[in-house]
């Protein structure tokens, strides 16, 4: 059963390859079949994830992968993000004339890499997963070719991503040089009785890992790529990157720092706390200045990376379930917000400024309501899922003594209310006529309904079903 932790990854990979084969023999025309196929494969992956949920903890392949509660929640979140991204892509691609079957193959492959990250228990797997998830994303970011912004996004993401990978691999090399280990549990054991001569190598290696993962999670000061890439990439891909990539990157952070570097907490907690503070302040602060929805969501994504970093520092009994739930809540709200953006977008232009949203709630009150729910969840207003998520992370950080961090967290939360509200204000209170657009496609409607109801009820459901003990 050593392969079991890899089951979701393998399903998605095999499915992606199968789709690729199908693409080769597919008659030209609509890619609806490919989208259905991708959805089916994602559902299969979810089935496997749920089936594994009852298995408890499984170590596999020489302890290089590990299935546990965290892996379950991370995999589930990634698959939710991927599923909704597929739903949103179907008509988005067709309307813009960039309908190509390989899109879904890349999306599934990226998700497979993320699923691998969720079970990583070895630095080599972390590296492998990071590369695996990144390469398809580079392609996806540029999928709206020949739109210049999209190509720019792809190139930027690729160059900076390659840089980050170099940091990661060099960090792993230094840790290996110092300890002879790549397994995270062994590394933790080594750190409990470290060899003083080799320690500096490990510290430098750890710092490099923090930089690389900070880049992927979009933490300040490694966040600069985010707004441009988010703005340029096709909107469903942006949502997928904001939600699922973040989940995978946080998975890596949890595995590497909470498990592998856990015993050295005293050393890295300071820098991580600084990063968290800078990320919350810069993310929320700069988001205030945005007038474009996608750029605003990019800074929002940065800001949430800050709250998640806070989760790394919190009391693990609260923080680990807290981070898992936060990621799921954040994924639902973010994917939902991008779903509304896809639904409201003019199919021929890419105007995502707040002006483009003015008054649309008059014609589409359902979309307006859903967007309000997503924004409230991202702020953290009860009873949405985002409220309970933030509550847990703040509680965890407070419990661990990070009072100042909690204060920064709540003050930036209030600041964030302003820019999230701007979207609601534009949609509900802006001047504008009713229903210029034919209205969103059923696939988009379905995504919005799913994420909307999920965002509204998930927090309460999660706590009713067991909450922290899940």
């Amino acid at each position: 059963m050593v392969w079991m932790p890899l089951l979701p990854t393998l399903i998605l990979t095999a499915g992606a390859l199968g789709l690729l084969l199908a693409e080769a023999f597919r008659r030209p025309g609509s890619t609806t079949g490919m989208a259905w196929g991708a959805l089916g494969i994602t559902a299969l992956g979810m089935g496997a994830t749920s089936a594994l949920a009852t298995w408890g903890t499984i170590e596999g392949i020489y302890s290089m992968v590990l299935w546990d509660r965290s892996a379950f929640w991370l995999s589930l979140t990634i698959l939710v993000g991927a599923g909704i991204a597929i739903l949103l892509s179907r008509h988005y691609l067709a309307d813009r004339g960039i309908e190509r079957g390989e899109y879904y193959v890349f999306l599934l492959l990226a998700a497979a890499g993320m699923l691998l990250m969720a079970v990583a228990a070895d630095l080599l797997i972390v590296f492998l997963a990071l590369e695996w998830l990144s390469f398809p994303l580079y392609v996806l970011a540029g999928f709206a070719r020949p739109r210049v912004e999209s190509e720019e996004a792809a190139l930027k993401y690729f160059l900076l991503g390659a840089f980050a990978s170099a940091f990661l691999v060099f960090g792993i090399a230094l840790i290996f040089a110092g300890t002879g280990l790549t397994n995270l549990n062994d590394l933790a054991a080594w750190l409990r009785r470290p060899d003083p001569d080799a320690q500096p190598l490990v510290w430098v290696g750890g710092a490099l890992l923090l930089v690389a993962l900070g880049f992927k999670v979009a933490a300040v000061p490694f966040h600069l790529w985010t707004p441009d890439v988010y703005e340029g990439a096709p909107t469903p891909v942006t949502g997928f990157m904001a939600a699922a990539t973040k989940t995978a990157a946080v998975a890596a952070l949890i595995r590497v720092f909470l498990i592998g570097m856990g015993p050295a907490l005293a050393l890295w907690s300071g820098p991580v706390a600084l990063m968290a503070v800078a990320t919350m302040i810069v993310g929320n602060g700069v988001a205030l200045l945005q007038s474009n929805f996608k750029r605003m969501m990019a800074y929002s994504s940065i800001a949430h990376a800050g709250y998640l970093l806070m989760g790394l520092l919190g009391d693990p009994a609260l923080a680990v379930p807290g981070v898992m739930f936060y990621l799921l809540a954040y994924t639902l709200a973010t994917m939902g917000a991008f779903a509304v953006a896809v639904g409201m977008a003019d199919p021929h232009g890419e105007d995502q400024s707040f002006r483009a949203y003015a008054g649309v709630a008059r014609g589409s009150p359902g979309m307006g309501t859903a967007m309000a729910i997503f924004m409230l969840s991202l702020i953290g207003v009860p009873p949405t899922a985002g409220f309970f998520a933030k509550l847990l992370l703040f509680a965890a950080a407070w419990q661990a003594g990070w009072v100042a961090l909690v204060m920064v967290g709540i003050i930036t939360t209030v600041i964030s209310a302003y820019f999230y509200l701007r979207v609601v204000v534009a949609m509900w209170m802006g001047p504008g006529e009713a229903a210029r657009l034919p209205g969103p496609y059923p696939w988009v409607r379905f995504s919005v309904a799913l994420t909307g109801v999920g965002t509204l009820l998930l927090g309460v459901l999660w706590l009713m079903l067991g909450g922290l003990s899940l």
Partner: protein, 507 residues
């Protein structure tokens, strides 16, 4: 899951009404309005049933519904009503049907409007009924969203500014309360295993363990959220904007109910959870209250806009409420509770009257009004009664509340040595109230009637029906307030046990 209590039905009914309305096609405006009104009348009927079944002798919560919905963090759905919340619940149940009836003139997006009003009703009732800190916070924040949308969509010219300011201002206070709730929960975890959000348990087992400094910080964190809501001077600046820009029903609910949530929070949580800090901070609280009384009255006098005048008078009246609460004796607190109801009736009534006038004249500027008694005799008569009630004329409800607040503050041990001086200053506020109310009456009703207002129609049947219950209660409380005090006495004495007892030991 315990038995459903009547209170749970009161919370679910407006929610169900809102969902029903959302399911209706938007052009069935008539049905939507009647469903909304019917739902809120149903809540009122339940509330009256509650009143009949209420046992005034029992100090603790009644009609309790307890359900441990989130066992892993110890959060419970726990609602109940006691003498402190009883009248506020009834006031809520009364004000909503009136506000909905006053919203008959809303024509734009009726469906959304009515659904939001009903959601707001659930939220406000929840705030007064919740006996669990997390549940309280959820309802507390939940009221924010519909109110913001009501102001922002159906409000006046500066509605978006007012709505966003209202949201941010209130939220900035609330998050500190949230942190304090989290801190209390974390402190309760070692004692209970999972932690708890039960304020009664905390008051009994946790508060005695808190250091004075911890109590002070937690008091301030809760207090900031409540002080913004009340609003206490100098945190009141959101209020004139929100009140003035909100649609009539929004102003009514804001003044009559949402402001009460802040004062209620002080009494329910700050006093019982942090008793020693409360005693220490009673005097600063009272000083701010007196400043609010005088400042609100003076600012009110300076207004040329009818609605702004009423808005600032709220600051002044809520100052009386806070003064009564900070007296921390049964007399002051009971008077404050009654004064909350009084303010709900009189200021709610004034906002309704402002709205009715505005619908006729489309201006609220005193400089364009005047002499209206000739054109609107019925309106004028009602305006005078409600105005005098707000002013505190003996025989009407305002007098009972304000007089007893002053009496309570005068004899307060918690406010010594400044009790007498503060009471004297606050009493001067009553004089100022006469100045701004009488000026308002003068400028609206007396003087020459401008030619263009000559043909204005007087109040119609719907509007009279809205004002009638308010007038009856204004007179009833003014002439025979005893039953109102009788119902709250036991709970107030019980609730004040923590703050009132050790005070003699301290000084």
């Amino acid at each position: 899951m315990a038995d459903f209590s009547i209170l749970t039905w009161m919370l679910l009914l407006p929610l169900g009404g809102a969902l029903l309305i959302l399911g209706l096609p938007r052009d069935r405006v008539g049905a939507i309005r009647w469903i909304a009104l019917g739902t809120s009348v149903g809540v009122l009927a339940l509330a009256l049933g509650l009143l009949l079944g209420f046992d005034p002798a029992q100090p603790g919560p009644q009609f309790v519904h307890h359900w441990n919905w989130a066992p892993s963090i110890g959060a419970a759905y726990r609602v109940g009503v006691d003498g402190i919340s009883l009248w506020l619940v009834l006031l809520t149940a009364l004000i909503f049907p009136l506000a909905l009836a006053a919203s008959w003139t809303i024509e734009d997006r009726v469906k959304e409007y009515m659904a939001l009003m009903l959601l707001l009703e659930t939220g406000v009732l929840g705030v007064f009924l919740a006996l669990d800190l997390l549940l309280f916070y959820i309802f507390w924040e939940f009221t924010l969203v519909p109110m913001t949308l009501l102001i922002g969509i159906w409000g006046g010219p500066r509605r978006v500014y007012a709505a966003v300011k209202f949201f941010l201002y209130t939220m900035a206070g609330s998050v500190f309360m949230l942190v304090a709730i989290v801190a209390l929960w974390l402190l309760s975890r070692p004692l209970t295993g999972t932690g708890t959000f039960d304020p009664a348990w905390m008051a009994a087992h946790l508060s005695p363990l808190l250091s004075q400094e911890a109590q002070r910080w937690l008091f301030l964190a809760f207090g900031l959220a409540f002080a913004i809501k009340v609003p206490m001077w100098p945190l009141h600046s959101w209020l004139p904007d929100a009140h003035v820009e909100a649609p009539t029903a929004g102003s009514v609910i804001l003044a009559a109910l949402l402001l009460k949530m802040g004062a209620y929070g002080f009494l329910r949580f700050n006093f019982s959870l942090f008793p020693t800090a409360a005693q220490e901070l009673a005097l600063p609280l009272a000083i701010l209250a007196v400043v609010a009384i005088l400042y609100g009255a003076l600012a009110s006098y300076a207004q040329d806009d009818f609605k702004r005048l009423v808005a600032f008078s709220s600051v002044s009246h809520m100052g009386f409420v806070m003064l009564g609460l900070s007296a921390m004796n049964p007399l002051g607190v009971q008077a404050a509770l009654l004064q909350m109801v009084n303010h709900g009736l009189s200021t709610g009534g004034l906002f309704l009257l402002v709205g009715m006038l505005y619908e006729r004249t489309h201006t609220r500027d005193f400089r364009e009004l005047g002499g209206l008694w000739k054109a609107l005799p019925v309106y004028g008569g009602i305006l005078i009664v409600v105005g005098l009630s707000s002013m505190g004329l003996p025989g009407l409800n305002g007098f009972v509340g304000e007089f007893l607040v002053l009496l309570g503050a005068f004899g307060s041990a918690a406010l010594r040595p400044a009790a007498h001086g503060l009471t004297a200053l606050a009493a001067f506020g009553v004089v100022l109230a006469a100045v701004y109310i009488l000026t308002m009456i003068l400028r609206v009703l007396h003087g020459p009637l401008p030619e263009r207002w000559r043909g204005l129609p007087d109040l119609n049947g719907r509007e009279l029906a809205i004002m009638a219950p308010l007038l009856v209660l204004i007179l009833l409380i003014g002439l025979y307030p005893l039953p109102f005090f009788a119902a709250m006495q036991a709970s107030v004495q019980y609730g004040l046990a923590a703050v009132a007892q050790p005070i003699w030991a301290l000084r």
